[in-house]
């Protein structure tokens, strides 16, 4: 296979404590190696910035729910047709058909792969896959070129799991988690609004505390969280439980988020799109920023990690398993609404949404996200996301990086937003922090890789996958991060001189925890009695 020496670039490889050193990176057969013979082919990267490929640990790109959103947005796709890339024609290689598609906030699969790679991202995880539809998610991933992929499996509202909790069957619950992950080829355990989706199906639309019963009195958000976090840690999963807390979007929900963090105190847990979970104020009355409380808690609790779920102004599409939230959004905005109750395990809601900088709520959300970033004491534990496409498209990451790295750019935007709800916001008080390139490399590469337990990703040391992004240095960080000069994926140069040139197939990451096979007998019995899909045909 091929070798390449990338010479003279300024390397940011935080996992190996390399912060802006000029050094060569050697690539052999898809991996990074310590050295290469002098006659190996070279790529001149002088005056360029070299980082590991980007890793998105929370996006919605491939699932039955994503397809519901895609189908609902012909008006967006019509405005953003995506022609097929002009790939290199290599007479010796197998034939890969370059594919056209459509963009918007929920792009078609091929376009999703090409556009992520075009931004220098080489690994992306879908954060919410319903087990019964996992086969669909994997099929969509198969049609998402270049990037490595994986998915988190929704478990917080699974009736079988709830039965085990009600019956005090903790071992069986753990075995079920392992079985579910294996059978769906999933990577991590996802919890969305624990118990709350089951309650939404019962027409109960609010959670008042972590001790609300979701049916059986022993089944509460707290016991669900404890059971699943305990299982994930006992199974030594590479990524801890990935939690979307109760009361997303509700004023005052910072209390719920802190309660959730405290409930799992001392146990590894990842809290996702924290911006949507960091609202102070009072339900039904007022919203304010709760970012500082979250930051302070996380600073003293190293077992916690999170991603921000930044809101970016412009078009978005809200898309979540948390159906009750989407109904509220539909009712308050009048925008079109889809809901799918997914059999005895989860839900799905979709509402297209526009964040306007003149709107008070969107401005507050934007500010809270930035506060979380700027107040964060540990970039390794609070990483970048927009909860694509919920807070905005992944295509807005370069602008988000610009906001973090350039205070004057940020201040210009602050002047334009609606200040009505910003009282008490740290951002309004003038947070002066500017992220360094190294910190950006942490929150977009090294941090996510570490949180995901991907030892061969997110760094440039010998043995790592040769997923490498090379940027032309540019003071305009939006431009710099939007148009990498070169991107290597597994050693293949997919972006060359800023153009997408090759589209190899990425790899699927999955966890394969062990479980006691005896559990299958009980699951099978339950499936036979209640599910509409045969036990043998479930999963992926």
């Amino acid at each position: 296979m091929s070798s390449l020496r990338i010479t003279g670039g300024t390397v940011h490889d935080p996992a190996n404590n390399i912060d802006g050193e000029v050094r060569d990176i050697c690539v052999l057969n898809g991996r990074i190696v310590a050295s290469l013979p002098d006659d190996a082919p070279r790529l001149d990267a002088r005056d360029m910035v070299v980082m590991p490929g980007g890793i998105d640990l929370h996006a919605h790109v491939a699932s039955a729910s994503v397809n519901v959103a895609r189908r609902m947005l012909p008006e967006e796709h019509a405005m953003d047709p995506a022609r097929a890339p002009l790939l290199v024609r290599d007479r010796d290689a197998d034939i890969t058909i370059p594919r056209s598609g459509s963009g918007g906030t929920v792009p078609s699969t091929f376009t999703t792969g090409y556009r992520y790679a075009g931004l220098g991202y080489t690994t992306v995880f879908d954060a919410a896959v319903a087990p019964v539809s996992a086969r669909d998610a994997h099929a969509q991933f198969d049609d998402t070129p270049i990037i490595d992929t994986g998915c988190y499996i929704l478990m917080g509202n699974d009736a079988y799991l709830h039965r085990q909790i009600a019956g005090g069957e903790h071992e069986r619950a753990r075995d079920y988690v392992a079985w579910l992950l294996r059978t769906t080829k999933g990577y991590a355990v996802k919890i969305v609004n624990p118990g709350g989706i089951e309650l939404w199906k019962r027409n109960v639309r609010e959670i008042t505390s972590l001790d609300d019963a979701a049916g059986d009195p022993k089944v509460t958000p707290r016991t669900i969280l404890e059971t699943l976090a305990g299982a994930a840690n006992a199974l030594n999963l590479p990524h801890p439980v990935h939690i979307h807390c109760n009361n997303l979007g509700v004023a005052g929900n910072v209390g719920t988020t802190l309660d959730t963090m405290r409930a799992l105190s001392g146990r590894r847990a990842h809290f996702t799109h924290l911006q949507f979970q960091s609202y102070a104020g009072e339900r039904g009355k007022s919203y304010a920023s709760g970012a500082r409380q979250i930051s302070e808690y996380m600073a003293t609790h190293p077992e916690t990690s999170g991603d921000v779920g930044q809101v970016m102004f412009g078009q978005a599409c809200t898309l979540t398993a948390d159906g009750a939230v989407e109904y509220l959004l539909h009712a308050s905005t009048g925008r079109k609404w889809a809901n799918i109750d997914v059999e005895l395990e989860t839900g799905c809601g979709v509402v297209p949404y526009t964040y306007r900088d003149k709107a008070a709520m969107a401005s507050l959300q934007w500010a809270i996200g930035l506060e979380l970033f700027l107040l964060s004491g540990d970039p390794w534990r609070l990483v970048l996301s927009t909860d694509h496409p919920n807070g905005g498209s992944f295509m807005s990451y370069p602008e988000l990086i610009h906001l973090l790295m350039d205070r004057s750019f940020r201040d210009e935007q602050i002047k334009r937003i609606n200040p009505k709800m910003l009282a008490g916001s740290a951002l309004a008080d003038g947070l002066s922090r500017e992220y360094t390139l190294n910190e950006i490399a942490i929150i977009t590469r090294a941090g996510p890789a570490r949180l995901l337990g991907l030892s061969s990703k997110g760094h440039l040391g010998a043995g790592a996958d040769a997923d490498i992004t090379i940027y032309t240095r540019d003071a305009d960080r939006s431009r710099m991060f939007a148009t990498p000069r070169y991107v290597l994926k597994g050693g293949t140069m997919v972006v060359e001189e800023g153009q997408l040139r090759r589209a190899p197939q990425g790899r699927r990451h999955q966890a394969s925890p062990a479980y006691d096979p005896a559990v299958e007998r009980d699951i099978k019995q339950y499936f036979g009695r209640y599910l509409s899909v045969a036990f043998e045909n479930y999963g992926a």
Partner: protein
């Protein structure tokens, strides 16, 4: 050529998935004796008929030439490549994997792309794009729906097992007693009657259908006409509203397939009703679709192009043209060459009429017995009987296919080169291009012998040749894969 080992003479495949209708029951036991399906346990009459005995024609024809899959693929590729305006049409009975490869063909050609959905279920689809839609998977309905409204149809005729497997008969986690634990309401729309054993019924005239749905919504919002005369439309709607409001989880079941005599606006009115009910209680629509993996074609088109049907790649990227669907393009004479992928018998009449005026190639089950003419016809197996892959149930739940009559050669190929391995060996394309050149020059003897040797290289063609030699139907996914790569080469894209 390698010998094809016949499938094991006797076997039973459990948990097989039936595509006889959109219910996509996945509990069928398919019994094979001496290479033929002799029994389909648990299948309804529709399903039994759909499975048949597993025997399908296995002809390959391109022009006057018979029996040569490589020559046939070359002829199809040449015609599609030369056409200014081509159409790829997804018909029934093939797996999602084939849809995926067929859409690539349309993409690379800049062709129009459509499926049966445009001619049959587009009203509901467009309504859902305008408004969204509250729905649920069939298992959720089975376990939770306590009030079930059948809107102007009885599933017994077109969806025979819906009643027993999903609603209203089975026991549910939250519905003890099965049928007795639910209230079934039949809305009779003129002669389209709901189930005969419904607990209550309400009747509307054909021209009252949409108005009735609006009035039910109004009543749910507290805007009923006071003192509406008994039996008036307002009164019937208000009564229905009261019954629906009493449900903790209401399922509204309707037929998504065409009923030309019914008001097409009912799709949107039903969506609106479900939306209104969700303001105070919970409600989901269950819209039934016919068989052959139609929902699969919708799903794949959506994820690959962004649109569920009626796509045009003519400008280099997909555009949505629901008002200019395949039927319209054909009627206007815009299409020169059409590729039908699927059972020609499933192609709706409006499309068939238009196809009689264009050069048509068919790759699908019983292609050689097409009711409309074709310059090339390649018989393939049927999804779930001969071909593996995924099919999508009417509620978008994906299910695996368990083909009882898959050949070992196809199985071995699919194990290695599924959609996760999309790149096609150049040898496959070279061999088809050689056959194309030989066909164009009319070469015989030496040249065709060279072509013959070349065409055995490439895994797709090796399997195709083996199937042809054994007199078995081809594998649609393998053919479409080879065709797509060949066209990518001819179009200069790869």
């Amino acid at each position: 050529m390698p010998d094809v080992t016949p499938p094991a003479a006797d076997l039973t495949v459990e948990h097989a998935t039936c595509l006889g209708c959109g219910c996509t029951c996945d509990d069928i036991g398919v019994v094979v004796r001496a290479g033929r399906i002799t029994e389909t346990r648990l299948a309804c009459a529709l399903g039994t008929q759909w499975f048949g005995d597993g025997r399908l024609p296995a002809r390959i024809r391109a022009g006057a030439r018979e029996g040569d899959p490589v020559a046939a693929l070359a002829a199809v590729a040449a015609k599609l490549h030369d056409a200014d305006r081509a159409l790829v049409y997804l018909a029934a009975d093939l797996p999602c994997e084939t849809h995926r490869a067929a859409i690539a063909v349309a993409d690379i050609l800049g062709a129009a792309l459509d499926s049966i959905t445009s001619a049959t279920a587009s009203a509901g689809l467009l309504a859902a794009q305008r408004r969204g839609r509250a729905t649920a998977t069939l298992g959720e309905l089975r376990n939770r729906a306590d009030v079930v409204l059948f809107w102007g149809f009885d599933p017994a005729t077109r969806y025979p097992r819906y009643t027993a497997r999903y609603l209203p008969d089975p026991e549910g986690l939250f519905i003890t007693g099965g049928r007795r634990g639910r209230t079934v309401i039949a809305a009779d729309i003129a002669a389209d009657r709901g189930p005969g054993d419904a607990d209550t019924r309400v009747a509307f005239a054909a021209d009252e259908e949409v108005a009735a749905l609006s009035l039910v919504r109004a009543a749910l919002r507290g805007h009923s006409l006071p003192n509406a005369p008994e039996g008036s439309l307002d009164a019937r709607a208000a009564t229905l509203a009261t019954r629906l409001r009493a449900g903790a989880y209401v399922a509204i079941v309707s037929d998504g397939e065409p009923a030309p005599h019914r008001d097409p606006r009912r799709s949107e009115a039903l969506i609106a009703l479900a939306e209104t009910l969700n303001a105070s209680t919970r409600c989901a629509l269950s819209t039934l679709r016919a068989g052959g993996n139609r929902s699969g074609a919708d799903a794949v088109m959506t994820w690959q192009t962004g649109y569920p049907a009626a796509v045009d790649f003519g400008r280099g990227a997909p555009r949505y043209r629901p008002a200019d669907d395949a039927a319209a393009l054909l009627a206007r004479g815009e299409i020169q060459v059409a590729l039908i992928v699927g059972s020609p018998a499933s192609v709706p009449a409006s499309i068939r009429d238009g196809l009689s005026h264009v050069s048509c190639a068919i790759i699908g089950p019983s292609a050689s017995e097409s009711p409309f003419p074709a310059f090339a016809a390649i018989d393939t197996g049927r999804a779930g009987v001969h071909e593996r892959g995924v099919a999508v149930r009417l509620d978008d739940v994906p299910l695996p296919l368990r083909p009882a009559l898959e050949t070992p050669e196809v199985a071995a190929f699919r194990d290695l080169w599924g959609p996760a391995t999309p790149a096609v060996a150049r040898a496959t394309v070279s061999a088809i291009c050689a056959a194309l050149a030989a066909g164009e020059s009319g070469a015989t003897g030496e040249a065709s012998a060279t072509g013959h040797r070349a065409r055995e290289s490439g895994p797709e063609l090796t399997v195709a040749a083996a199937l042809a030699a054994a007199g078995r139907p081809q594998d649609s996914y393998i053919l479409l894969r080879a065709l797509g790569a060949t066209l990518a080469h001819l179009e200069g894209a790869a």
